[in-house]
Subunit: 596 residues, 2 copies
């Protein structure tokens, strides 16, 4: 395309027909989308325009949605039906190398196209330029195709629509010549840091960085270098391996802003869990520093060394140290190789004394609070079609393991009325768990482990083992839920004449967001032209630890692939990362205004 860049001013000024014409080709052969979005003008930000278009598709009929999907060509389609393959589409497939397939790849794609169409009745849609807009590798495209061929039709329809919106987002960035450069920088850092990983490496680039391994220390060194490059005034490695950087404010007495997230990972991890919250702040500070801007308050960024609990039993090692919660007994914990945490620290050149660790404790009086940007690690934002969400609380949780004991008996000779079937009791309970948790709206309860040990096809289950995980935004809500579920289990077992045992294995307090900090996040998101979605965090985060010492509030960023995390399929787009940096910059502005 050789048009001059489009502007929002032009779009807002056009009549409806003009508006539709200006957005021609953003959504494939579907002018009705722009037509319906026209009435939502004026648009103040590109994000706002994108959201309006998404909203039109979300509120369209299923037939219209299917029509939109079917307006797209097949991937690497053999025959471009006249008028079907747009210039954009050709360009995108070419960037992904789909115009240069090997005969085998081509055959594979044709078979996948046929299988997919037979299963779903529409063409496979994939934003082949990918999360960084640079184009996916052909192997990646084929793997995604194969994976999605297994999905449920309802879920796959939504995934196609999400890919269509992503395609539109990339086309809009081109049309407006507004590339998400800050976001791309964030993703670039994520990719580069992922080069450091522990063995064994898989062919697909498995990422594993656990506490104080060589890969972990290489990450710390790299982060320190990058932070200095970003313009932080002071950068150092602390006694537990946290990378700490300060960008000083103009008013030394003003309470500083503490922020950050962790740089360790789970095994075979994604690239954004934890790290996104470090890079977002780095990109923001680089923006400030490049333009010579200083806030009233200082910004203190901490890249926490350990959150995931992968190498040693203890978790949140990095943030615990900041709130004086580092248990001296942890120093004697052993990793799988029999190395103590103390030895690991010494090997890494850390002091490995409780004196040095205790000194990391922050004085809450010197801080306004803690904020953390994090990938959602769940499907809420993806399914709502929103890039950002404001966290209301980090859920409190309780975990249990248990078993129901009935009587194992012959599946053929024991009448239904004479059974003491342990599995049926757990089944009845599982449905009550599901229903009761859903009642709260924002609670969750999960039976993740479920088994009839040594079960036989012809034996009525005499025993059934299970786990239960309960989470809710407040401890009171969590406990009401857990209490109801335990009572329900007792009732079921009593009525069915079974015995049961259940043991609590974990109890963690909820960490509700601080009102003011959360409100500023909401304002920042709204100022970007985005609807404000509030949600609790189901997973634990460093902010949960900091909550013990100071106010905290988190911002969530949408994850791709339905929000999957702790998995190499974890993704964030450049556009969403861009919005995260912009939101953080806006948040800094708002919070700094309070004392301006």
């Amino acid at each position: 395309m050789s048009m001059a860049s489009l502007t929002l001013t032009e779009l807002n000024a056009a009549d409806t027909a003009g508006f539709v014409r200006l957005l021609h080709g953003i959504y494939e052969h579907s002018p009705w989308i722009a037509e319906r979005a026209a009435s939502h003008r004026p648009f103040h930000t590109l994000a706002q325009l994108r959201q309006a278009l998404v909203h039109v598709v979300q509120t369209a009929t299923r037939e219209e949605q299917l029509g939109l999907i079917r307006a797209h060509p097949e991937l690497a389609g053999k025959v471009a039906i006249a008028g079907s393959l747009t210039a954009e589409s050709t360009d995108e497939q070419s960037r992904a190398g789909l115009t240069h397939c090997s005969p085998q790849e081509f055959a594979t794609l044709q078979q996948l196209n046929a299988d997919y169409n037979a299963r779903f009745g529409w063409p496979f849609i994939l934003a082949v330029r990918g999360p960084r807009s640079l184009g996916l590798a052909r192997a990646e495209i084929i793997a995604t195709f194969q994976r999605r061929l297994q999905a449920h039709p309802d879920a796959e329809l939504q995934e196609c629509l999400r890919n269509i919106h992503r395609i539109a987002e990339i086309r809009l960035a081109d049309r407006f010549d507004q590339q998400p450069l800050l976001g791309r920088q964030v993703l670039q850092w994520a990719d580069e840091l992922a080069a450091h990983s522990e063995p064994p490496w898989s062919e697909r680039g498995e990422l594993t960085v656990t506490y104080l391994t060589d890969a972990h220390r290489a990450c710390a060194a790299q982060l320190m270098q990058w932070m200095r490059d970003c313009g932080f005034d002071e950068v150092h490695l602390d006694a537990v391996g946290n990378v700490v950087a300060r960008y000083e404010g103009t008013q030394p007495d003003a309470p500083a802003l503490l922020t950050g997230s962790h740089y360790d990972t789970v095994r075979n991890a994604g690239r954004h869990d934890g790290r996104l919250g470090i890079f977002t702040v780095m990109a923001a500070v680089r923006e400030l520093s490049t333009s010579g801007a200083r806030l009233n308050r200082s910004i203190e960024l901490v890249a926490f060394a350990e959150e995931e609990g992968q190498r040693f039993a203890a978790t949140f090692l990095g943030s615990s140290a900041l709130v004086g919660g580092f248990d001296p007994a942890w120093l004697d914990q052993l990793d799988a190789a029999g190395i103590t945490l103390r030895q690991a620290m010494q090997h890494a050149g850390l002091p490995a004394t409780m004196e040095a660790i205790a000194a990391l404790r922050r004085d809450p009086a010197q801080y306004l609070g803690f904020v953390e940007v994090h990938i959602e690690q769940g499907p809420v934002l993806a399914q709502a079609g929103l890039p950002l969400g404001v966290v209301t609380s980090i859920n409190g949780s309780r975990r249990f393991i248990g078993q129901v004991q009935g009587v194992a008996s012959h599946a053929g000779t024991t009448p239904m009325s004479r059974r003491r079937d342990a599995a049926c009791a757990v089944a009845e309970w599982a449905l009550q768990v599901e229903r009761r948790a859903a009642q709260d709206g924002d609670s969750v309860a999960t039976i993740g482990q479920l088994a009839v040990p040594g079960g036989s096809i012809n034996v009525v289950p005499g025993r059934c083992d299970f786990s239960l995980d309960v989470r809710a935004p407040s401890d009171a809500q969590r406990d009401r839920l857990a209490d109801d579920l335990l009572l329900a289990l007792a009732d079921i077992c009593d009525r069915r004449g079974l015995q049961h045992h259940i043991t609590e294995t974990l109890r963690a307090a909820a960490a509700p967001s601080a009102h003011t900090l959360q409100q500023r996040w909401e304002q920042a998101v709204a100022d970007l032209g985005l609807p404000v979605l509030r949600l609790p965090s189901g997973a634990g985060h460093d902010a949960m630890k900091l909550h013990q010492a100071m106010p905290q509030a988190m911002l969530f960023v949408r994850g791709g692939n339905d929000g999957i995390s702790h998995n190499p399929l974890e993704t964030v787009t450049d556009d969403d990362a861009q919005l995260a940096v912009e939101a953080f910059l806006r948040w800094l502005d708002l919070i700094d205004e309070d004392i301006r």
Copy 2:
């Protein structure tokens, strides 16, 4: 007690007070039982009297039942409360050696008494004279005590009542001087045959007899000897190892009666599964032969060599040969040691040719039909308080294995409304399976295997594996049930947005009992003074194979310990075995009358 033997004539003639007095001490300190049973006179058989007493207790209030239980002394009680320990009770505890406990045994029993009372609030009741009325070993008593301490209170209350009825039964046999000698002979044979078992033997006398092992061949030799001793005219071992015995009738042209059951066992088996159906017929023929009685028809008893499918993959090897269903390919099946079935036959001195095996096929025209007496292997008779039951059909069955696939996701971050929880779908289905099977009354359906493979406490189940076993008295009923369940699973998965796969792994046809043969069983049971309970057989039996060639009908005998089978806890009492022999003799009479 030094009374003269009681007679039914005396009992029937007495006034109510006299009746109660004559039955004093049969039920411990509970004259109300005899009082209420008095109105059910006249009693024509001791079994009928026993059943009337059982019925009174079954229809009593829970408080009355508890009163009856609490009227019993503690086992090996330290202090005999005045008027509490009856002469019968003292005698029984003494026979079980409880008056000669070691200090350690005594301490164990006192602790068990205390724990039991704390858990249930009543004393532990055990018919310490056991199934053969001879007295249980102290170790056996302690093991039973420990096992029952784990039971559900409702189930344990019923088990106490059943033991009280068994105590009463033994006391009545003494009072009437009517010892169940035929039944005791049956149990004696069962005990003696159980001396032959394959290694490894456990200390508790594990019983395992699989096809053509040394133990198996020793059993065959022993059976042949016993059958000759019982007065059978001809006894031989056939080409597949069945022991076949004929007791000739007076009319050579009259179709003969084929009967029998199997003498092989599962691993760590009980002593009665299969064998009871051999010994019952042996005891009956011994009665006939001792008195020189001959029927019009010949009786052909087959002790089938193989039914359980433990050593080789094929099952029903013995009965298959009689209906021409022995598959030549079976000869090449291997056991765990790599020995072919053919080699095993040769080693046992059998011809091991299909010619010899095919010659075993019976001509249906020469037989009236096949009947089989078998332990129920289920809880129906035990829970109904009835010694015998008439089988209406051997249930047809279908088996399936399957899995539901959802999406594994973070238990904390995936809202309840966004889950695709595979385990919850199977849970919902399990309840429908339970409910739908119960609707039929005599169908059963079981999910015996259930697992979330690799499930984690904090991950929403992405997959759930299961099995399904469906059985019903007719193929049509079985198929309606199976079809409904498969549809229900598809509906659930569809509604929940999940995928599922299910594969049928077995389909066996139902074998309904032949009307006339079944009716004669009903008459025989009624003639003993017992209520007629009809029930389907949930398990497969040799009769199912014979069904392919001729009419068949089965009689079930109550199993103790809630009907447990394929387990060393399998038991039959001497009184029940007695009734089985008497019923078989009566059945012979009735069926022979047809041509008299």
